[in-house]
């Protein structure tokens, strides 16, 4: 970007909660600086949101696209492909597009199970005729269409090539501003990088750390931790030890363990495995059987505890499919 020409910026959301949009706004009056530096050519909540206008843009004509949310439906997949084609730089914004995020935990299930729960088994659901949403419904006045709901939640980079990642659920306002500054000043790291510091949450945490010797893990409701000492040392599963910095350790500051929303550090291929390894090294035992017992008793849901935000991006990626689970047309 030259100093005289405004860049073109697009923002989009897929399977996400809207928190990333709020996070962008949390940069407060700096949003005006963004508006001064960029023409926002696509942002469905704020500017002309016509998809067909994006379709008409020349390929590569958007300088930067911040894309939040995972990919779960045919519509989201289409938008990811479209915006990839139209954008020079595509940034996976926030935990869901980066790693699948919380919605990615649905990869422990499949579409059939999700529909069964949502539309049949939930106790307030009244559905004696067994109706389920479907891509096309004929109503008396015509046909109504819904996007296809896929079996698997995918990250953005499992759908299209991604240039950079901005982690966090959601990214903190300061990190968003850092990224915008890096873009404007042409100081982006090498393509494929996560934009942000490469230390861990522990480095930002004000709690006092001593030698960690854990004999037992506690569920958060089982103990009241002291407010000064490292939570992990007190036996609470805090993911800060294997989670990228950037949030200023906000959760540990209110006595709550890090839940890992910033994902793993550079070079770590599987965040959950990294966290498990880190924990194993602080358990006060050299006996593999005892280590296993300590983990099993104190961490009853290893999948949800180690892959809370990262299941879709992990090497596990999703549960094994059984017959009937692959009806959706994806993959």
């Amino acid at each position: 970007m030259s100093g005289t020409t405004k860049g073109k910026l697009a923002l989009y959301w897929a399977a996400s909660c809207g928190g990333c949009e709020i996070a962008v706004l949390a940069i407060n009056e700096k949003i005006l600086d963004v508006a001064a530096l960029f023409d926002i050519v696509f942002w469905p909540v704020a500017v002309d949101g016509k998809v067909r206008d994006v379709e008409k843009m020349p390929d590569g004509s958007i300088d930067v696209c911040l894309f939040n949310g995972a990919i779960r439906t045919s519509e989201q997949e289409y938008m990811a492909q479209l915006l990839r084609r139209k954008s020079k730089v595509l940034i996976a914004f926030g935990a869901c597009s980066h790693e699948g995020g919380i919605p990615g935990l649905a990869n422990a299930n499949n579409r059939r199970q999700i529909f069964q729960t949502a539309y049949h088994d939930t106790p307030s659901t009244d559905n004696s005729s067994g109706v389920e949403p479907r891509p096309k419904t004929e109503v008396p006045e015509g046909a109504l269409h819904l996007p296809v709901f896929y079996d698997t939640v995918r990250t953005l980079d499992q759908t299209v090539p991604v240039d950079y990642y901005l982690p966090g659920c959601p990214p903190e306002a300061d990190r968003i501003w850092d990224a915008i500054t890096a873009i404007v000043e042409g100081k982006l790291p090498p393509p494929g990088s996560v934009i942000g510091p490469d230390t861990t949450v522990c480095q930002e945490c004000p709690r006092v750390r001593n030698e960690k010797k854990i004999k037992k893990f506690h569920r958060t409701w089982e103990i009241i931790p002291d407010s000064e000492t490292c939570l992990l040392e007190q036996g609470i599963l805090c993911a800060g030890i294997a989670t990228r910095a950037g949030c200023n350790a906000r959760c540990p500051r209110v006595n709550s363990p890090c839940i890992g929303c910033y994902g793993p550090n550079t070079g770590v291929h599987d965040g959950g495995a990294r966290l498990m390894t880190a924990l194993a090294s602080v358990i006060d035992s050299n006996d593999p059987a005892e280590i296993e017992r300590i983990i099993r008793e104190g961490i009853p849901d290893p999948l949800g505890s180690f892959y809370r935000f990262g299941l879709a991006a992990s090497q596990l990626r999703r549960s094994k499919r059984t017959n009937g689970a692959t009806a959706a047309k994806t993959e």
Partner: protein, 489 residues
Amino acid sequence: MKRISIDPITRLEGHGKIDIFLNDEGEVANAYLQIPELRGFERFCMGRPAEEMPNLTGRICGVCPEAHHMAATKALDDLFHVDPPPAAKKLRELFYSIFFVTDHTTHFYALGGPDFVVGPTAPPAQRNILGVVQKVGMDIAGKVLKMRRDGHHLIEMIGGRKVHPNWGLPGGVSRGINEEQRREIEQLGRDAVEFALFSLNLFEDVVLKNSNYVKLILGDAYVHRTYNMGTVDANNCVNFYDGKIRVVGPDGKEHAKYDARDYREYVAERVEPWSYLKFPYLKKIGWKGFVDGVDSGVYKATPLSRLNAADGMATPLAQAEYERFYDSLGGKPVHHTLATHWARLIELLYAAERWVELATDPEITSKEYRVLPTQTPTEGVGCVEAPRGTLTHHYATDERGILTKVNLIVGTTNNNAPISMSVKKAAQSVIRKGQQVTEGLLNMVEMAFRAYDPCFGCATHNLPGQMPLEITIRDPSGQVVQRYSRFVS
């Protein structure tokens, strides 16, 4: 048959889409609100430890994560059979009051207010928060920005993060506040009361003193005589954090008043094949289709519903406004959807007053903000009023507290059927035989659903302007006859 598609390109679990069908006479035959996404929280939370739920379910909505965080935390109290100490309950309600002030502020100034302050027929490009600023002055923009910033600052201070706090636990909260923090919270709370009064005065000057607006509010296009739902305290006053859920009929008479735990006796959800979002209705009345009236189980859960379902407000300034509201609009209940904006400001004032009450409570800095559960978890229900309606979380677990069942009825979902009905009615009032559909249709229809503050417009709460909308009219062969769009630039 002609079709009008309105694609707001905004979300509740995805985008919302409205299809309006015209018959051969050019009159509205039907309207459908479609929610084209599902994420499956009720399924994938199964197998997770119950204490994860305040954090997991916050990710249902990043605009109102505080509501899910709180409903989940209360469901955990019930699940673990633990009664939080008084200070914990007060801290939670303080936090929740701050959240309500912040959320209602953004709705009124960024989303709902521009229709009135700038005017329903003003050029679309001005009908946004920037237009509000132009109309009423820069100092107001400063007030709104300050209110939002104060709110988010305190939410982070108390709950850990501005978006997605990490604070609630069965039996209390993870951390209390100290005296220095309390003083700041109190001071900003007093500012919030001033801000709420200022906002009500603004509404009085700009809307209520304009006979055209009053006519619009009272006009038939925006009336729906449905049941109304809201949470009330022991005195039947509006409460956001806790109480019994009360439902009143179209005639204002009490239909039900129940504990959160009993919700299944009163609410059921219908599935339609053309939307991923279910349609709740009152079980004892039954589903009779998308119609209003005493025989239809359709109900609303909005700020207006909460006022209708209660006997008053628990704080003095809000109570005075409550009385003025019903005196001005011809008594209870009020069924004019657009009056929801006024009701929202009365709730804003109540939340601000409650904020100050709690911030000056001698117990609020107590260190007794947590007790540990001692009983085996089984099953629990937690309800709060989300800004957009009664929010219900229902969990069952095994004896280790691992979730075996999850049921969620979220705020906007309550209003799924009424929003469809409001859209249809507004469309019927402006689309007439032989008349060309004009740009005016767009905003009239938009206003019908904007009053609900629907959360498929999550992020629109916070931005200049309104939902991007597009209306396409096609002939029976699918050819585009007319196209209108309204976007903020």
